[in-house]
């Protein structure tokens, strides 16, 4: 039985979130989109692209499947196929190998779910990720009913924008790092610093002694901002739905005390930015498993609800077809 449906997402930023597009000086700018206000004027509103959400699903789903299969060495074309969706590489003049594409979707469901291009076949994605829109006054006309009731809906988007500042230190300013340098390099640095000081006193610029030290800024959505979006799916088989659930479980960073699941969106997630609590609503919601982070050396979180029959069947499916998956991926990429 093929499944159609959607997961509604209600997102609360727990840390500053930067989803960028371009820069001004040393400030990385937030990505914005134009919207038409009720009075016909245009305004720019920050958002998180659907491409970001879709790629999160693709990458997490592929990584989960590879970990189940125990695969850690791949060819370059297979990496492109799995993580970027691949590309068309052969013309259709000699006929279209639909059987191989169909078989690849069957044995490796995450590709069937997210769509791919391989050989002379391009398959559509069965999952449709909306943008994550900010709950704010400019977006009132498209807010879902539950978001309209939030006080955030009465505030302009500017109320949720801020800046995060950071610095990168010149490492050779540290005595410990300088001790690691060769005598020649240390002399070069000292000469450069002296020249720069003299040039500065003379009111001139000097290129010598260029430093890695810098101040940088990111425009961000502030912690506590609310966003909304959907993940729609259409015509999924049991294994593809399980692959979607596995991907969302694998990408999940844990549970928030407020009831949501933790995910990271946008840039600089490795230094704490972009952490969000996501409340899902939809039929697939109950299937998404919260990873358990054990106080052990085991790095990978447990994926999915271990007791869920569909997830067990999905893992068994991947293991059963392991050899065929490897062969078909290499032939298709």
């Amino acid at each position: 039985m093929n499944k159609h449906g959607k997961l509604e997402m209600r997102v609360t930023t727990l840390e500053a979130l930067h989803h960028g597009a371009g820069s001004s000086g040393n400030t990385a700018l937030l990505r914005t989109e134009d919207v038409i206000l009720d009075d016909g004027r245009r305004a720019k509103v920050p958002f998180v692209s659907g491409n970001t959400v879709k790629h999160m699903i693709r990458e997490a789903g592929v990584r989960h499947a590879l970990s189940v299969l125990g695969l850690d060495r791949l060819s370059v074309p297979v990496v492109h196929l799995l993580f970027s969706g691949g590309h068309l590489s052969k013309t259709g003049g000699a006929g279209v190998d639909m059987r191989r594409a169909r078989r690849l979707s069957e044995v490796f469901p995450i590709l069937g779910l997210c769509g791919f291009s391989a050989g002379n076949v391009m398959t559509d994605s069965k999952v449709r990720c909306s943008k994550l829109h900010l709950v704010c006054e400019e977006n009132r006309w498209r807010l879902p009913a539950d978001c309209l009731e939030m006080p955030h809906a009465a505030q302009r988007s500017g109320a949720y924008r801020g800046e995060e500042m950071g610095t990168r230190r010149e490492p050779t300013h540290s005595a410990h790092v300088r001790a690691l340098l060769s005598d020649a390099d240390r002399k070069l640095l000292d000469d450069g610093a002296t020249e720069k000081l003299e040039a500065s006193r003379a009111g001139e610029a000097s290129e010598r002694g260029a430093s890695a030290q810098m101040i940088f800024e990111h425009e961000v959505l502030l912690p506590g901002a609310r966003l909304f979006g959907t993940i729609g799916y259409h015509g999924l088989g049991d294994m593809e739905l399980a692959a979607l659930v596995a991907a969302l479980s694998y990408a999940c960073d844990g549970a928030h005390p407020g009831g949501g699941l933790l995910y990271r969106f946008g840039a600089r997630s490795s230094v704490g930015m972009g952490l969000c609590s996501v409340q899902f609503e939809g039929a697939a919601k109950r299937l998404i498993g919260v990873p358990e982070f054990e106080p052990s050396d085991e790095v990978l979180p447990a994926v999915g609800n271990a007791g869920d029959a569909a997830m067990v069947a999905y893992v068994e499916h991947l293991r059963k077809y392991r050899d065929e998956i490897v062969t078909t991926l290499e032939q298709s990429a």
């Binding site: 989109e33 491409n51 590879l66 590489s89 279209v96 990720c129």
Partner: protein, 235 residues
């Protein structure tokens, strides 16, 4: 219109279809004709087994047509060939043109982790890292007119959650569809607002498709576009 015949079965009436949009529509082509959307709706509603058994239309020289609940126009071309299509307009409305860039990231991380690759070329080749630009049409609503069966048109259009390209990334989201009667609108009025064969309209002819799938070269014939001033009006 000279040489043109309209087949309008009983029960069909002039209709107005409005898409209330949640996001800008990404599209290289501003025509966005209604019959293309309805054909997609018909495809979506097909039983899964029937859909899977269909030949991949990309490689069919002449793709099969869906039986849409719309009136048809027919015209005999200068070469004696019969051309036909559906009685519906292109998208009408006033929109701001923009551009969206879709980032295709190069998978450096997985390549480092999982392969023995030495030199890679992210700046060239089919996998190159790019920000792919796609034009967008920003409007709160788009309107179409057609002659058809209201209940069936509504059934087909309601299953379409988004229009244009990059729908999987959240572009062209439709918040709500509205299908209602359009008293006073005639088939001729509608046909003035859609692409027609050069045999029945004067103007600069170009090879374009006249019915879905519009992207398919098998549907191409000499056509003349409608007057843009008739389409760029509030619906």
């Amino acid at each position: 219109m000279r040489g043109m015949r309209i087949d309008e079965p009983a029960g069909m009436t002039p209709l107005r279809v409005v898409a209330h949009l949640g996001d800008a529509v990404a599209s290289f082509d501003e025509a966005l004709p209604l019959d293309a959307l309805l054909a997609h709706g018909q495809y979506v509603l097909l039983p899964v087994a029937e859909r899977a058994a269909m030949p991949k239309v990309d490689f069919e020289p002449e793709p099969a047509d869906f039986d849409l609940p719309l009136a048809r126009w027919r015209v005999e071309g200068d070469d004696g060939r019969l051309a036909w299509g559906w009685v519906c307009t292109h998208a009408m409305g006033i929109w701001h043109r923009g551009m969206v860039e879709v980032r295709r990231r190069y998978p450096y991380g997985p390549l480092l982790e999982m392969t023995d690759a030495g030199k890679v070329t992210p700046g060239a080749g089919p996998e190159k890292a790019i920000d792919k630009p796609v034009p967008t049409l920003l409007a709160r609503e788009m309107t179409w007119y057609c002659v058809g069966r209201k209940d069936l048109v509504r059934r087909l259009i309601r299953v379409i959650p988004a229009i244009g390209k990059l729908r999987g990334h959240g572009h062209g989201t439709v918040l709500r569809w509205e299908v209602g009667r359009a008293p006073g609108v005639t088939a001729d009025w509608i046909l003035e607002r859609r692409r027609l064969p050069a045999a029945v309209r004067e103007g600069a002819a170009q090879k374009r498709a006249i019915r879905p799938p519009y992207w398919h070269r098998g549907q191409h014939t000499d056509c003349v576009e409608p007057d843009a001033a008739l389409l760029r009006v509030a619906g």
